[in-house]
């Protein structure tokens, strides 16, 4: 870890407790869905909060939730990149990406035939970026503007990404393969 020693003045500490700390659950929930591992999620969230403390003096906004969630997601993506390092890195592509694993045709058919696959499993098959917008929208109830803030992409991209995420999820669940959405 780099950067200055984490330090908060008494006033900053008060503001941190008020604006950021209440979103510890939200932070963990997001990390948990992005990394899909409890231990790694805990590590990422703690690191994210240390970063948040370190950079808190630069936080001027009112929306502490979007702010801490954006730090958490960046920390998680760094961790995911590290995890993939050594293996081949598949950069996320809005248009072409569907399921996270490149499934061979028979496997894809098998996946599709598992109509009874739970939502959780279906979500797990999505690319991280799709899983992320679904969690932020459905579990966290964020607006497109807030999601744009967290993920650092334009609102139009949030809109299309969410639509695609929902479509891919239905495909993964075997309930929407025929739908032209």
């Amino acid at each position: 870890m780099t950067g200055p020693e984490p330090h908060l003045s008494p006033r900053e500490r008060e503001r941190f407790d008020e604006c950021v700390l209440p979103y510890l659950d939200a932070a963990y929930n997001l990390a948990r869905y992005l990394l899909r591992d409890g231990h790694e999620a805990e590590e990422a969230v703690q690191e994210a909060f240390l970063r948040a403390i370190r950079h808190f003096s630069g936080f001027r906004g009112a929306d502490g939730r979007a702010w801490i969630l954006s730090i958490v997601r960046n920390t998680c993506y760094t961790q995911l990149r590290r995890r993939r390092a050594g293996g081949e890195v598949v950069e996320f592509d809005e248009e072409t990406h569907s399921l996270e694993e490149e499934l061979s045709a028979p496997e894809a058919n098998l996946a599709r035939s598992m109509a009874a696959a739970s939502l959780h499993e279906g979500l797990g098959q999505l690319a991280t970026e799709f899983r992320e917008v679904l969690v932020l929208r459905e579990l966290e109830g964020l607006s497109y503007k807030e999601i744009a803030h967290v993920t650092g992409v334009p609102m139009g991209t949030v809109m299309s990404r969410l639509a695609r995420a929902r479509k891919h999820l239905r495909v993964a669940l075997g309930t929407g393969a025929s739908e032209g959405v």
């Binding site: 700390l21 963990y28 703690q46 979500l123």
Partner: protein
């Protein structure tokens, strides 16, 4: 608006994120198009399913304690050295052992306690109180050599403090608490994400072993005495593991 355009907008329509004009057009189309309405119903079902079936993962107590510790540490003007220490690795590290010499802390003994209902009730209340946000620990550290001296000057006895991380019961910190109107030391441990509070105070000549666990409000409390100290060990952990932990805590020289 044609069906294909409507289908492409159902997702933001459902999220109430379309501009008013587009939203009205979609609504109008839906009134007269059963296919698009059915697609909307499926979309809505998916969202409801996600909100209903997906688990919202709340931060585990261990993580909460660690983040709070970092925040506390950052807010302290004289930042203690341990605050910047690398996180997590300690879990695997074997704990050092402090030999606890009993008897030295009986100078100001509280009235001798029995394992009675009132104390149990207060110990359980103290445990529940401690789980409320931001009040688990006054000194948050996994280092017994930090926690033990922290009590110096805060209470007039020195509680035995041992990290049992190697046995799966890491020390998380300590704080001052009150039981039966007296200041007592509270040591906080974790076991598989369960928080364990150990309340300690001196009693004259006490060396009576462990009492059977008592259950109140879903929490288990075990009372023990050992070399001049009274202990209340409280947690929602299962009785067997809590009793095993209580035996370690009250063992001679606190060996795991």
């Amino acid at each position: 608006m044609a069906s294909e355009h409507v289908l492409g907008r159902l997702s933001p329509f459902l999220d109430d994120e379309l501009d008013p004009v587009a939203s009205r057009e979609v609504s109008r189309h839906l009134e007269s198009c059963p296919e698009c309405s059915a697609a909307l119903a499926r979309q809505r079902e998916l969202g409801e399913g996600l909100r209903r079936d997906l688990e919202y993962h709340r931060a585990p107590d261990l993580l909460r304690a660690r983040v709070l510790r970092d925040v506390h540490a950052a807010g302290r003007p004289d930042r203690a050295r341990w605050a910047a220490a690398p996180q997590w690795r300690w879990l695997g590290a074997a704990a050092g052992i402090v030999a606890v010499v009993g008897g030295a802390w009986m100078l100001t003994a509280l009235p001798r306690e029995r394992a009675d209902d009132a104390t149990t009730r207060e110990a359980v209340s103290g445990h529940i109180r401690s789980l409320m946000a931001d009040h688990l620990t006054d000194v948050a550290s996994t280092d017994q050599h930090t926690v033990k001296p922290w009590f110096n000057g805060r209470i007039d006895f020195s509680p035995p403090v041992t990290d049992f991380a190697s046995a799966g019961y890491p020390l998380v910190g300590g704080r001052l608490d009150y039981l039966r109107g007296h200041e007592v030391a509270a040591l906080v441990y974790l076991h598989r994400k369960h928080v364990i509070n150990v309340f300690v105070w001196p009693v004259a000549g006490a060396d009576g072993g462990l009492a059977p666990a008592v259950t109140q409000r879903g929490y288990h409390a075990i009372h023990g005495t050992r070399t001049g100290m009274a202990y209340w060990v409280v947690s929602d952990l299962n009785v067997e593991e809590l009793a095993a932990f209580a035996r370690m805590v009250t063992a001679p020289s606190g060996k795991p």
